[in-house]
Symmetry: D2
Subunit: 419 residues, 4 copies
Amino acid sequence: MADLLARVEDRMLAERLVATRSLTEDLAGPLSAEDQTVQSMPDVSPTKWHRAHTSWFFETFLLVPGLAGYRQFHPDYGYLFNSYYQAVGAQYPRQERGLVSRPGIQEITDYRVHVDRAMGSLLERRLDDPTASLVELGIQHEQQHQELLLMDIKHVLSRNPMLPAYDRIELSPPSVPGSTTWTSHPGGICLLGHEGQGFGFDNEFPRHRVYVEPFALADRPVTCGEWLAFLEDGGYRRPELWLSDGWATVRTEGWECPLYWSRADGAWREFTLGGPIPLNPAQPVCHLSYYEADAFARWAGNRLPTEAEWEVAAAGRPAGGNLLDRSVLHPSPVAVSAADASPFGDVWQWTSSAYSPYPGFEIPAGAVGEYNGKFMVNQYVLRGGSCVTPPDHIRTSYRNFFPASARWVFAGLRLARDA
Amino acid sequence: MADLLARVEDRMLAERLVATRSLTEDLAGPLSAEDQTVQSMPDVSPTKWHRAHTSWFFETFLLVPGLAGYRQFHPDYGYLFNSYYQAVGAQYPRQERGLVSRPGIQEITDYRVHVDRAMGSLLERRLDDPTASLVELGIQHEQQHQELLLMDIKHVLSRNPMLPAYDRIELSPPSVPGSTTWTSHPGGICLLGHEGQGFGFDNEFPRHRVYVEPFALADRPVTCGEWLAFLEDGGYRRPELWLSDGWATVRTEGWECPLYWSRADGAWREFTLGGPIPLNPAQPVCHLSYYEADAFARWAGNRLPTEAEWEVAAAGRPAGGNLLDRSVLHPSPVAVSAADASPFGDVWQWTSSAYSPYPGFEIPAGAVGEYNGKFMVNQYVLRGGSCVTPPDHIRTSYRNFFPASARWVFAGLRLARDA
Amino acid sequence: MADLLARVEDRMLAERLVATRSLTEDLAGPLSAEDQTVQSMPDVSPTKWHRAHTSWFFETFLLVPGLAGYRQFHPDYGYLFNSYYQAVGAQYPRQERGLVSRPGIQEITDYRVHVDRAMGSLLERRLDDPTASLVELGIQHEQQHQELLLMDIKHVLSRNPMLPAYDRIELSPPSVPGSTTWTSHPGGICLLGHEGQGFGFDNEFPRHRVYVEPFALADRPVTCGEWLAFLEDGGYRRPELWLSDGWATVRTEGWECPLYWSRADGAWREFTLGGPIPLNPAQPVCHLSYYEADAFARWAGNRLPTEAEWEVAAAGRPAGGNLLDRSVLHPSPVAVSAADASPFGDVWQWTSSAYSPYPGFEIPAGAVGEYNGKFMVNQYVLRGGSCVTPPDHIRTSYRNFFPASARWVFAGLRLARDA
Amino acid sequence: MADLLARVEDRMLAERLVATRSLTEDLAGPLSAEDQTVQSMPDVSPTKWHRAHTSWFFETFLLVPGLAGYRQFHPDYGYLFNSYYQAVGAQYPRQERGLVSRPGIQEITDYRVHVDRAMGSLLERRLDDPTASLVELGIQHEQQHQELLLMDIKHVLSRNPMLPAYDRIELSPPSVPGSTTWTSHPGGICLLGHEGQGFGFDNEFPRHRVYVEPFALADRPVTCGEWLAFLEDGGYRRPELWLSDGWATVRTEGWECPLYWSRADGAWREFTLGGPIPLNPAQPVCHLSYYEADAFARWAGNRLPTEAEWEVAAAGRPAGGNLLDRSVLHPSPVAVSAADASPFGDVWQWTSSAYSPYPGFEIPAGAVGEYNGKFMVNQYVLRGGSCVTPPDHIRTSYRNFFPASARWVFAGLRLARDA
C-alpha cells in the first residue's frame, strides 16, 4: 500500500515535470531566434539561456550523478549554462550571455529533448528520497525561471524603439476602485516560516517564533491612479520622501515615474507584454523599486509591512488571484471592494524586511546548498507572487528577494501601519 | 530646588560641550594644514571639513534660530559644510570635499572660536528643553565625527607611500590568548532598545519586545592570529565561504587580507595610526568588511550574532574597555582569560542584522529628523564601540551602521552560535 | 555615340550594384539568425544591421528623393538604421544595436528585396550625374560594410567560448620566408591623392604636392614569426618601446599578444574566420593596434611609413594580391622572395600619419558630406587593403582610418626607414 | 679667449638657473599650504608637486650622476616626484598626487634649497657640454612647469564654490576691436623647425623642407565677442559644425560655453586668476578645446592653420606680446588695428596638425629621451605661447601639444584660409 502510494507520487511528480518543461517551451513560443538571443542588461538573461540553464540543472544534479550511462549533450554546456554554482565548476560570465549566438535555439531545443528523454528514463524507476527531492527542486527552479523569462523578455522588448509585443494581452476596461480598507491584526508571538507540508525552499525554514506588534494591512495594492497622485504631488522631486540611497538613485538614473511608464501628448501609457497601452488607474502599480515603494508609503503617511506582518496576515489563505495560469500577463484592476481580495497575484509586494536567514537556518548539503543562502545580503523580501508567477509555485511562506534598486520585477506594494 | 538642579544640569552640559569641542581640536593637533586638506576616497572627509561641519551643526541648528543677534561667520559655509541635510539647503558634493583648499585651517580655527563664543553666550541662559536636547545632540554628533576624523585620517595617511604616522602609539608586546570561551543565553521574549535614561539616538527607540532563540556568544573578539589561520586555509580564495556579493567584491577589489595589512619578507605588518607595526596575533582583527566577518564565521562553523543577541548579552554592562580615552588608538591584545571581558571597545562588532527601523520608530520633527532614518537601507549594524570611540558616547543600545563593503571602520567581529 | 556609351556605363553600374548587393547576402549566408543579432562591443554592429543599413543608404539618398512613388519599407527604419547622418535625422544609439531583436533577419531580407527592386526601377532610366555618383557611392559604401561585416562577425564569434567558425577556410602550410628586403625611393616633391580617373572618396582629394625625404620601405609585411621574436624579447613588458598612450593601454587592457592570439600547452594559436588554427610564422601578423605596430617598429630599429611614403612607393601598382575575391579570409604566408610583392592585400598597413584633410579638402554638398570629414581627428591612416577587402574597392590613393587602439581591423604593418 | 667666453656662458647659465628657480617660488608665493596640496583632476598636479618635481629633475639628471658626494634629500622622493621617466624607476600614480599630504610645503622648500645649493656647487666648475645642455634642459623644463603650475592652480581654484583669486589682476577696460584682417603667404617649399641657434626641444628638430600651398592667416586671435556670436548662433547645439568626436564630447560633458565662462542674470562672466570678472568682448577667447576651435573655424567659413603655416607666417618675428613677464595673467584685449600684432602671447593657438615627429626626428640618448617623443600620438600642436608662458621660453619653432579635449590650457585660435 505504501508502495502503491509511492508509485502514485512518483507518477504525479513525473507528470508535473513534463507539464513544467512543456510550459517553458510554450512561454518561449511567441519568440523568434533573434528575440531569444538578446540580453538587454546584466540582470537579464536571454530566453534561450533560460531554456538551456533549466535543462542544465536536471543534467547536472540528476542525470550525470544518477542515470547510469547518461551521455552529456555537449561538453561545453556545463560551463555555458551554469549560473552561479561554484561547487560544480566555473561559469561563463553572466553579463556576457547575450554575446553567445551559438548554440542557437534549435540546438537548445535538441538539448531540452535530450534531457527530457533521459529524465523520462530516470523517472521510470522508483525514486529514492534525495532523487525525488531534487526533481521537485528542479521543477520549482524551472518555475522560477519561467517568471524570469517573462520579466527578462519584457525588458528586452522595451528597449526596442518599435516597442513590439510579446503576445496579445486582454485589456481590462478602466474602472474606479474604492478607497483602501484596512484589516487589523493583534500581533503577539507568531509563527513564521514553512509549516512542513509540501515543498519549500531552504530559506523558508525553520518555522520559528517572532514577536509582532499590533498592525494593520491594506486590503489591496496601491494603484496606478494613486501613484499618479504621488507623482503629481512632486513625489520624484522631494528628497524628504526618500531614503538617502533612493534619492541618490533617483538623481543618477533620472527616474521620474515607474519603469515602463511614459508620457506623450499629456497621456500616460505603460509598456506591457502586449505592447504599449494607456495607463489604467485602477490597476496595481507595477515595476517599482524598493526605494519607490518606500517613498510612496512615507508620502502616504504609512509604511511597508515587514515580511512577518505579511505572512501573519496571509496565514491560511490559499494561493489564488491573478497568477500566470490566467494568462493575463499584466496586473488586473482592483475590485471595488477589496475586503476579501486574495493576498496573492498581480504584483509582488515589497516588504521592509532585509533578506536574512531565519534563526536556525541551515544550508542544505551539496551543490544545491548554494541555492539561497549566499544571496542573503543587500536584498529585500517580496511576498505574494505576481501575474507571471506559476500558481503552484507560490505560497504563504514564499520569500522572493531583490536588491532595492531592481525595477524589472513585477513588483508593487501594499501599505501597512501600526495599529 | 528644581531650578537649582536645572542650573547644575545646564552647567554640566556647557562643560561637556567645551570639553568635546576641545577634544576635536586636540585630535587635529598632530595634523598639518596639508594633512587636514586631503580626501583619499569619497567616504573620507578632510580633517578640516570635520572641524568645520561640527561647528556648522551648532551654528545652523542652535545659533541662527536661537541666539538673538548671531552673525553667521561666512555666507558660503552653509553650503560648504552641510553634510546631507536637505531641509536646510543644498550641499557641496561629498566626493569633492578634497578640492576645497580655502577656507584653510586658520579660517576654520577662527570659525570654531566664533561658534564656541556664541555657544557660550547661548548657554549662559536657562535652556528650554528643545534647546538643551539640541546641544546634547550637537555634542553627540561631534563625538561621532571625532571617531570619523581618526578613521579618515588613518585612511589618508595609509595612501601615502611613505606611510607616515598620525602620532606615536604604544605597542603591546605579543602575547598568546586563550582559546575562545562562550557564554550561553536562554533567549525568550527580550526587550531591545534604549531604556530611557540619558541620551539616545532616535534609531535606538522605542524599546520593544523581540523573541530570541537560545544562543551563545564568544567572550572576546576574533584575533589576528585566528585570522591568519583563516587566511592560510585559503579563506580569500574559497568562494564557498562567502556571500555572493562578498565573493564578487573579493575578486573586483583584489582583497587578500584585511585593509591595512601587508606582507614583506614573509612577515605580516599592519598600518596603524602610529605607522606600520608587526602584526600582533593576540590583537583583535580590525578593518574588516561585513563580507569578511561573515566569511570567517562560516569558516569557523559559527555565525555572526544578531543585534538583539548582542544587546541581550551586553545588558547591564557599563561602557568600558579600550575606548578613545585610553589613547591607545589601536585594538589591545585580548586577555588570557576573557570571561569577564567588557563587551565594549577595541573593535566594533559586525552583527548579521540589517539596519532597519525598530517597530514604532518615529522620525523626530525638524531638520534633525534626517539624522538616522534615511540611512536605513543597505547597511548592517555594528555594536560595542572601538578604540577610537569616545567613552561617554557608547552604550548598550547604541547602533552603528555601515555598508557591507566598508573596511575603513575600526571593525572586527565576535562569533555567535545557536545554543 | 556618347549616348550609347552613357547607356553602357549605366548598364555596367546597374550590374555592379546587383553584384555588390548579392555579395553582401552571400557573406551573411553562413550566419544564423542568432549570429546576425549579436553586438560584441560598441564598435561592432550586428550582421543584420549591416544588411539593413546599406539598404537604408540607397533608400534615403536615392529612392526617397529620386524615385517617384517610392514607398518607404517601414517608418521606423530611418531611425533604426541611420548610422551617423545628423542631417537626415536622429539615430538609434550605436552601442545598443545588439538590443534590437526585431526586425528579424527575414524582415531585413524583405527590406533588401524591396530596395533592390526599387533600385532596379530607378536604374532603368538614364541617370543624371548626381544620381549616378550616388549609386556609385552606395556601392562603395556597401563594399566598406562587407569588410566591416567580416571584421565584426569575427569578433562576435571570438567572444563565444566555443570558438565557432564562420566558414571553412583553407590553411596554408607553414613555410619559411626570406628576410626583409627594402626598396629605396629618392623622395622630393611628390603628388599625393586621387588622380581623377574612376571613383574616389572625398578624403582622397585634391591631388596635391608634398615634399618627401628619401626613404626605404620593406617589400613585405612583418610576419607572425617576427612578432614572436618581439614578444619573446619582452616586447609587451618594456615601456621604453611604447608611446605613452600605448603603454597605458597595454597595462589597462592587459595586452600580451595580438588580438585573437592565445597560447595553450606551449603552442600559439590564432582565432580565424575558420576557427582556431596553429600560428603560421610565415603569415603577416594581423589584428594589431597602431600602438603595437609602432612599438614593433621601434624595437626593430625602424619606423612606420607616412601615408605619403606608402602612396609614392605604390604609385602605378594595380590592386591585387590576397583580397576578398580569393576567399581566403585570412592573410597568406609571404613568399620567399617578396621583391615584386603587391603592396595590396593580406593586411591593412598602419602608417604614422594622422588622418587629416588634404590641403584644399572640400566637404561635398548634402548629407553625404558627413561621409568622411567629420572623422578627421584622433585616427591614423591605414593603406593597402586586406584579405577581406573587395578588390574593386581598393586603390593606391585609398585612405582607411581607425583610432590607435583599434585591434579588430585586419591590420598589420610594413616597416620603413630613412634612406 | 674661448675659455673666457665659455666662463661667461657658464655664468649666464648659472644666473638664469637661479632666476628660474626663484620665479617658481614667486609663483607659488600667493598660495597657502592647502592650495598647494589639492589636485582637482587627473591632469592637474598640486603646486607643491610641481615645486618638488622640477627639483627632482635636477637631482636625478645632474646631481646624482654629476656631483661627487651629493646626498639625495630623501630616499622616497625619487618615486614620489618622478613624473613619467620609466628609465629611472617607478612612479607614484599621477592621479593620486593629491592624496599625498606629506612631505608638506616646508619640506619641499627645504628640498628646493638643498638642490639649489648643490646646483650652485656643480655650476662653480667648468661645465662640459652634456652637463651644460642638461642644465639648460632643466631650466626649460622648469619653465614649462611654471606655466603648468598656473594652469593647474587656476583649475583648482575654479572648483571651489567660493571662486577665490590666486592674485590681484589688472583688468583692461572693455573696448571694440576692429574686424579681422588677413595676411597672405605664397607658400611653396618652406623650411620648418629650429634653425640651430639657441635652445630647442628635440621635437623641433631637424629643420626640414615642407611644401605649403598659398594661404592667408588672420592677424589676431578670435575674441570673446566673436565667440558670443558663435554661441548665440547655436554653435554648441549644431552637430554639423563639429567633428564627430567633438560633438560626442559636447554632449557627454554638457559643454555650452568655454571652460570658466558662466552666466548669471543675463550677463556672462569668466573665472580668471584674479577671480570672476565680467566678460570683455575684445579679449581673445581662451580655454577652448581643439574641438571648439575647429567648430568655430567651420562656422566662420574658415579653418585652423597647420603648424607649418603658422611657423612660416611667424618666421623672423621675435617673441613678444602678452607673456608671463607682463604679469597680466590673462589675455589682453586685441588692438583696434592688429596688422602688426605679435604672433606670440595671450593665448596658445590650436593648429590642425597632429603632433608627429618631423622627418628625421631622433630621440636623444639617455633618460631625457623620454621627454617628447613618446607623446607623439593623439595630440594636436599649439603655437605661440600665452599670457602665462615665460618670454624666454617661447620661440617660432616651439611646439606645444595637448589632446583635442583639453580645456584648461590658456588656448584660443587664429583663423586661416586658402589663398
